[in-house]
Amino acid sequence: MKELITQEIGSFRKPEYLARDFHKIEGTPRFKELAEKATRETLEVFERSGLDNVGIGGEMFRWEMYEHPAERIKGIIFYGMVRSFDNRYYRKGSAIDRLERREPFHVDEVNFVARSTDRPLKVPITGPYTMMEWSFNDYYESREDLAMEFARIINEELKDIQRTWDKVSGGRKLEIQIDEPATTTHPDEMDIVVESINRSVEGIDGEISMHVCYSRDYRLLYDRIPDLKIDGYNLEYSNRDLLERGLSDEKRPGFNDLKYFTEINESLQRRKFIGIGVTDVHIDYVEPVELIEDRINYALKIIKDPEIVRINPDCGLRTRSREIGEQKLRNMVAARNNVLKNL
């Protein structure tokens, strides 16, 4: 297996020509034209940066990770915006009836991206627990019921993606990333997380990974790795780390909990891979190559086997400009290459 595969997590800043009119033209031939153009340009950025896996081309077909699928589900309606923090708001849907998928979420996007590059792809899809957590529940009896309904719908979507993939893959394996930022927000609901994710991926023949970011306690997730039908985890570490160089525990606080991950992972019959976030997507500061090398080398001191380590940003880079996003990816790939030379 290839060592230290580099990958994107999902989103990348949309070009102005697409972002400006996204909602006005969504669903029209003009939207298709611009989303495809933006995807091609973003794939070029990823390929130029040297990424091994180019994700889904920066999610140019999707405005946002919750709204995109929720708008395509019958039984969810949007009443308006709800505050996230300060004056930042998001559209929070209400489940008011039995949920049914109205139309596929990502099939067109997968079809187009797969035909536009011959590099490995990874298809991100918002997970059932996060969809539940970010919705008002005005219909189902419990949060678990709602999460399991989202799981049923996501499973339908993944089966459609698999059918499409079989036609366009060109021999590449299907890689799916379940995005679950809400995973550890309610420690007493980890059973719901596990059951709904496992239901979502039932019968899917491919490599399934999970992305979680900005958790207050990743150990809640690590503890459930043996129960989850997931092949690997792409997680955020650099946001919790220092910007100083060094390989000691004190200099790399963001990556300390890899020890706990490894403890669990080494006890499994079939080990999971771990994608480590080596660049913080919440700051414009472009971490120097040497700092990223230190982060990778520190992780390798703990995990030891570079075949199960992948290298990625903490999260999607949509919050940074395209220029800064590209610089961060370039430094990430350069650092990985330097580390590989010295292995």
């Binding site: 308006g80 505050r83 996230s84 923090f85 300060d86 004056n87 929070k92 957590e133 970010w134």
Partner: protein, 293 residues
């Protein structure tokens, strides 16, 4: 007939959100934003009157979260990281205490704040009340960065709250609790109860051990259930009849599940978790509930 109460941060209108966006980008002046906030607040007060809501607080359209302007107006407190509010997807900036807090800003005057829209903290009409997070909740939602005794900190916050009440001419106060008290005793609130009428919004149902030692009564105590023993500490009791975490609209007729000691109905959390359109409908329903009960 039951009295009805609407309290705390109320969702912003589309117009107000857009105005904030423009202000944050430097496209409109702070004074202009302040005028828009003032207009929106008075429109809110008119809506309360129209809906038959008898008791309401300032809607706090210029607060970024339920702690922020108070924290920014105190010495020895700073804003820390964004932190999740309970089990919601809404975040507040965690206060960090570096010493005993002291109000050093005039909350009644127009003044720019960093990291929050401008003061005044409240713009009141003839009837509207003040709103504050309880000292207990404020401390639990904060981080103590100095070697402070919690009881000393709580008492000092009560002293500062009394100053705030005085600054607004002794206006009545809705005191809001985010957490169940557990074994915590809140008798340190007594000087505040002496200074003005206080309606307490509690989590769970407070017990004797939580209230023992209070010499003055709350005007009303709203809990998650009715316990007549609470009348030892409050002139009246209230219940939470409307959800701020579901968009489903409640029926306008309220079950007579409470006994005669209940004379106030309200919502279970501040309304800012709802889209504005839904919050407005829920206010109307609450008004009708009060009429029909």
């Amino acid at each position: 007939m039951l009295k009805t109460l609407v309290y705390g941060l109320y969702p912003r209108s589309e117009k107000l959100r857009r105005s904030y966006n423009r202000w944050e980008r430097g496209m409109i002046k702070t004074e202009d934003l302040s005028e828009i906030i003032r207009e929106e607040k008075y429109a809110f007060y008119e809506m309360m009157e129209r809906s038959g809501i008898e008791i309401y607080t300032d809607p706090l359209f210029n607060w970024y979260d339920i702690l922020r302007p108070i924290v920014l107006s105190m010495e020895n407190v700073k804003l820390g990281p964004l932190t999740r509010y309970l089990e919601t997807n809404t975040f507040y900036r965690m206060p960090e205490f570096y010493g005993i807090p002291r109000i050093f800003k005039d909350l009644t005057k127009f003044e720019q704040l960093e990291e929050n829209p401008p003061l005044p903290a409240y713009q009141l009409d003839r009837k509207s009340l003040l709103f504050l997070p309880s000292p207990y909740s404020l401390v639990r939602m904060s981080r103590l960065e100095a070697d402070l005794r919690e009881d000393v900190l709580l008492r000092s916050l009560v002293d500062e709250y009394i100053k705030i009440v005085k600054a607004f001419s002794g206006r009545k106060l809705v005191l809001f609790d985010v957490f169940d008290y557990g074994k915590h005793n809140i008798s340190y609130l007594d000087p505040l109860l002496q200074s003005t009428g206080v309606i307490l919004i509690a989590r769970g149902i407070p017990k004797e051990q939580n209230l023992k030692g209070l010499k003055h009564k709350f005007e009303a105590l709203v809990a998650d259930g009715v316990d007549r023993d609470l009348l030892n500490y409050s002139d009246s009791l209230g219940i939470k009849a409307v959800s701020a975490h579901k968009t489903k609209i409640e029926g306008a007729s309220i079950e007579k599940k409470m006994d005669d000691s209940v004379d106030l109905i309200t919502h279970d959390d501040y309304m800012d978790f709802l889209p504005r359109e839904i919050a407005d409908i829920k206010v109307e329903v609450l008004g009708k509930m009060g009429d029909t009960a």
